[in-house]
Amino acid sequence: MNLAATPLSWNACLSALRLDRWMMGELDAADAESTGTHVSSCAACSTALAGMRGVREEVRALPLPIALGRPAPRRRVPGVAVTGLGLALAASLVLVLRSPPAPERSKGSGLALTMYVQHGNEVRRAAPGEHVAPGDAVRFAVLSLDPAGRASVYFPQAARAAQVPAGTEVPLPLGTRLDATTGEERLLGIFCGSAVELEPIRVAFERGQDAAPLPGDCQGLRWSFVKR
């Protein structure tokens, strides 16, 4: 494949950089004038510029990321607090679960995270990539495949992982009313043999460091759903 002729190759005469700089007023007067003259008589560059302007309008209509000043979404959580990582369209929620102490863990055992969605009067088990609506209530459960039937749970208002009651299917006393921010929401469940510090994990998750290693005795479980 010729690099100059891929489906992603640029099609206008002037570079995207030049057009962006012109649009954002970064060019000096002479360059700005020559660029403007060219664009006004070039269909390819005019089309490219129109596309750029379209995306600019899109971004202006997007909600600001929380880190840039958008108020954090309000979540109604019965009894416990939920750590909302507040990303504009990929809001993240850390749900940390703790497994039994390592010496008691049987080889091959594992834990799973299941999400239930309540929409109106209907409660259903959600699948990965589930589409939900703002205002829906979600509830999480731990499914333990450990022969000992024990699982532990950590509630994110504390700094370290904590234990939950034993059982083969243990609903966590954790639910949240979805806020109005639409888009994909990610969950990270961490099953650990010890009461690990959560803040470094939360920070790495927030920063999108997907490959950030978990503590040695932890296993991670990811989930996402799409709110629209």
């Binding site: 489906p7 190759s9 990965p128």
Partner: protein
Amino acid sequence: MILDAPAIASLYRSHGHVVLRRARTLLGSEADAREALQDIFTALVRNPDAVRSAGSIVGWLYQATTHHCLNTLRKARTGARVLELHVRPGLPEAGGPRGEAAAEVRRLLALLPEDVAAAVVYHHLDGMTHAEVAELLGCSRRQVGYLLERAQGLWDRAEQTA
């Protein structure tokens, strides 16, 4: 220039499209592109000096976006993207032969060394002149020519072994 959170929010509104548009092209995923947009501006809150010392905001955003997206493509290639448990929907144009060819370009970009891949992105995907690429890479135009020649060679070899 004071770059506190409100100033960066204003920058997000005025310049965010530079990131989102290029991230869409580079990543082929709306969700990943929006994540890139958010990550880049959120990182600015933590380290505003990064752009404060840059000669051009647009130029800095090009560099940051390219670096971020190439990293994302590499992570996807190596399977290091541990948060992903399902296939995310791509952009509408991701389908069909053209979409497959675009995906192949992204796969090959992930194989190239960082400076070579960045030169390819700037020159071929952004249509930059060698002088513009040299400015963003901080090297000579001659070096840009060398990087692009090397890219085509590596590209041809990767296609043959694919």
